[in-house]
């Protein structure tokens, strides 16, 4: 059985309930946001380790803040990782299942590694000094390992021509799932290095955000902003190098260097690098560059995610696989359910984040103004309305189907 025939056989026969391109766009979008939080988790955890090791007031306070930020970042990374994991199974089902099953022991191990790392992070958050650094260091090692496993699964995924060889050993099926079959160091580094660039920009935002508080320590925030600007610039420089290294090890026939999304990524990446160079050269007030740097970083991450997807499409086109070949079984009802839930949920989510954002910027008790009160009540009303509508729909369908 050749590879294209195998892929066709593995493709789910039930088709997809909406246009595959929509799932692809959602996958890229959510994957980019997931990566942003993964980067933030790695970077803030690493700073927590360094801060605890260095000790002293300045680093000690930063380490505490970073450990706290890391706990929220990891949750964000998990939350935002669920969505692309879902969408990848819709449009790339043969690849995801085959790749993860070939190394199933590691795929399951990923869960326990992540849990150990995350649990340890809470211990790091509540402890200072050596104990704090040990727990944070353990978390960092676990998160790196988890990232490496995901990297391997993603890399095995685009090499279906090798799957059967990996699965077969001495003429029999090799079912232990304990082998990570292939990895690419430049590709992995391209995942890891941005952690420090993203965290650098996060520190600039941190410096900007807390400056508004009446109890803020201006010198500490100035120091954190400068540290962030330097980190962001240097890490982005290294990231550019790893990007070129990765490009050089890609299969020649993919000709990715001439792909428009690669070229666009290169231009945007260099533009961001130039801006970060300018920002870190300033003697003070690095927080003034925080928002443009954050916006630029977000654009570059989104673009890179799109470029990675374009690369995957080229990889898989070699085997005659295209997501548009999925059988389309349009289901307007469930599509409406999703988009009809997504929009109100964003309104509610924005309210929660607005409360968190505004209350964190004042030193004492924060009291909601009339607009925030109304937004809060509307958020609850939206959730109740959703439940009433869905319950009504459910009852109507249950009654209709009764006895059929």
């Amino acid at each position: 059985m050749d590879t294209p025939a195998m892929l066709q056989l593995l493709r789910d026969p039930m088709g997809v309930p909406f246009y595959p391109a929509v799932f692809q766009i959602l996958m890229v979008l959510t994957f980019a946001l997931h990566l942003l939080f993964v980067n933030l988790s790695l970077g803030t955890t690493c700073l927590a380790v360094i801060g605890r090791l260095k000790g002293g007031d300045r680093w000690g306070r930063l380490a505490g803040g970073m450990a706290q930020a890391a706990t929220a970042s990891v949750s964000g990374a998990i939350l935002l990782g669920v969505a692309p994991l879902l969408f990848v199974q819709v449009i790339y089902d043969p690849f995801w299942y085959a790749s993860s099953n070939l190394s199933a022991g590691w795929a399951i191990g990923f869960i326990f590694i992540l849990m150990a790392g995350y649990g340890s992070l809470y211990l790091a958050r509540d402890r200072k000094g050596d104990a704090g650094s040990v727990f944070a260091g353990f978390s960092f090692a676990m998160f790196l390992s988890a990232g490496f496993i995901m990297h391997v699964l993603g890399f095995q995924l685009v090499q279906p021509e090798k799957w059967l060889g990996w699965y077969t050993s001495h003429g029999a099926a090799s079912t232990a799932g304990t082998v990570l079959h292939d990895f690419s160091l430049p590709r992995f580094l391209h995942f890891v290095v941005p952690a420090f660039a993203v965290t650098g920009v996060f520190l600039m935002l941190y410096s900007w955000y807390f400056r508004a508080r009446s109890d803020a320590d201006a010198a500490q925030l100035e120091w954190a902003g400068r540290l962030g600007a330097k980190m962001a610039f240097h890490a982005t420089t290294i990231e550019a190098v790893t990007g070129f290294l990765w490009l050089m090890v890609l299969p020649r026939d993919l000709s990715f260097h001439s792909h428009p999304l690669f070229v666009l990524g290169l231009i945007l990446g260099l533009g961001l690098l130039g801006y970060l160079y300018h920002a870190q050269k300033q003697a003070k007030d690095h927080h003034r560059f925080a928002w443009p740097a954050a916006a630029g970083m977000l654009v570059v991450i989104l673009e890179m995610a799109a470029a990675r997807e374009a690369l995957r499409v080229r990889y898989l086109a070699r085997f005659g696989y295209a997501i548009s070949d999925h059988r389309l079984n349009l289901d307007w009802g469930s599509t409406a359910l999703f988009f009809g839930s997504f929009v109100p949920c964003l309104v509610v989510l924005a309210y929660i984040l607005a409360v968190a954002f505004q209350s964190g910027r004042v030193a004492g008790l924060w009291e909601a103004g009339p607009r925030m009160k109304a937004w809060g009540k509307a958020s609850i009303a939206l959730l109740v309305a959703w439940l009433v509508i869905v319950a009504g729909l459910g009852l109507a369908i249950t009654l209709r189907n009764r006895g059929l």
Binding site: G15, A104, G171, T175, N329, T335, V355, A368
Partner: protein, 436 residues
């Protein structure tokens, strides 16, 4: 059809079961805890009792860490282990219910942002805003259950979906409402058992007594209503599923479901009267007792779908045995019987695609991996081990066993053998070779 993952002493399905049942502890807590919190927080404000608020804060901290470290990650773990155990079934579920999962994810966004903001804004925001965040979390969190129950129950009782292929026909199936109410009422018993454990460490005697009394009442109500909903659920099952349930339900599982319920009812009733008598360790033990009941129920619930993963459509070994004309899907069994499972399945070593005298045992093992290993270990240790199962049947030669394999489909909980005559004989020869 995908590479098989063999787990020594267990099966990939066993790993899935362990992770999924553990996940119930934090996930049901996350859905239920905030309702108790809202009640207690409002009471604390109304009666101006800061020490009660201190309990709410501790309980929220436990919720944040336990539910959103271990709960979130084991939730992802269910997907990973389902990928390993039954990738085709998971794929089928996702290709039908992707928008359902995505909808649940929207509310998951609210849940996670909500719990972090709720926990970190105690005494930071005005009381009404704090309670509003709590209400949003409680509603958003419960809505994830409203969505998930539709997808879970579809996998066991797909209802009209088998005819129409329609999302909502499968979602609002005959067991949807009873199971939603069963989980909704049962979750209060779970919230209560955790609350007792957290409260048992409170140094303030009045707080400890008040919280434990209130939690006990919630616990008793949850157990009573949950039990009633269980019988509603059982009555809503299709006739065939109920028969399978009754045949396969072992006395151990039955006891596992009911004994802990009785014990927990006695525990809550006792604590209602003597709230200060419980320590932290017995309270943790009580959570474990409740978990035994949940675990037994979930295992029993899984029995219903045998011999299928998707009833009427996909067998336990992920071979599509039913038609789904609404989505243009035909059964695979005829093609597999004609061509041979070893030629049909992609992940088969080239030397085993055709059965010969030289490779008979290896080919038979490959057939067993594809058709049997989802439920049975091929080694003597572990879940439903084939060596013992075959040994207990008493066959001593491959031909007689092949005849038995021919009739597998007549057992209500076994999928039929699929493949050529040669493959059946190879399987029989292999099974005889490992029989104990």
């Amino acid at each position: 059809m995908y590479p098989v993952w063999e787990v020594p002493g267990l099966t990939a399905g066993g790993v899935l079961a362990l992770i999924a049942t553990f996940h119930i502890l934090p996930s049901h807590l996350s859905v239920s805890a905030m309702w108790l919190n809202l009640y207690l927080e409002s009471k604390a404000y109304r009666e101006n009792r800061p020490e009660l608020l201190a309990f709410v804060r501790k309980y929220s901290r436990m919720l944040l860490i336990f539910a959103y470290v271990f709960g979130s990650i084991t939730g992802v773990g269910i997907w990973f282990s389902a990928s390993a155990a039954a990738p085709r079934a998971l794929s089928g579920l996702i290709h039908n219910y992707v928008w359902g999962w995505a909808t649940e994810w929207c509310f998951f966004l609210i849940e996670v942002a909500g719990i972090f903001t709720y926990y970190y804004t105690f005494d930071k925001v005005d009381r009404k805003t704090h309670l509003r965040i709590g209400w949003i979390f409680a509603l958003g969190s419960w809505t994830t259950m409203v969505v998930i129950v539709g997808i879970l129950t579809f996998m066991l009782t797909p209802g009209r979906w088998l005819v129409t292929g329609g999302f909502f026909d499968g979602f609002f199936n005959q067991t949807y409402w009873p199971q939603l109410f069963l989980r909704t009422t049962g979750m209060f018993a779970i919230a209560a058992s955790y609350a007792v454990a957290v409260a048992s460490r409170s140094e303030d005697e009045r707080t400890r007594a008040d919280v434990i009394r209130i939690a006990s009442l919630w616990g008793l109500a949850g157990l009573a209503l949950g039990t009633a909903c269980f019988f509603w659920y059982r009555a809503s099952l299709p006739e065939a599923a109920r028969a399978t349930f009754d045949v396969l339900l072992t006395p151990g599982l039955t006891r596992g479901m009911w004994v802990p319920i009785v014990l927990m009812a006695a525990y809550f009733a006792f604590l209602r009267l003597r709230p200060l008598t419980v320590g932290f360790t017995p309270a943790l033990f009580a959570i474990a007792v409740l978990f035994v009941s949940i675990f037994s129920f979930e295992r029993a619930r899984e029995l219903i779908r045998k011999p299928y993963l998707m009833p009427g459509f996909m067998y336990s070994n992920q071979i599509i045995g039913g038609e789904l004309p609404a989505k243009g899907v035909a059964a695979e069994t005829a093609a597999m019987n004609e061509k041979g499972i070893l030629r049909f399945a992609p992940f088969v070593p080239d030397g085993l695609r055709v059965v010969t005298d030289a490779n008979r045992l290896e080919a038979g093992r490959m057939v067993a991996l594809i058709e049997c290993s989802a439920c049975h270990t091929l080694s003597p240790q572990g879940l439903r081990p084939l060596p013992q199962r075959v040994g207990s049947l008493g066959f001593t030669d491959a031909d007689s066993l092949a005849g038995f394999i021919d009739g597998l489909g007549s057992y209500p909980y076994m999928p039929p053998f699929v493949g050529t005559e040669m493959e059946k004989k190879a399987l029989a020869a292999y099974l005889i070779s490992i029989a104990k």
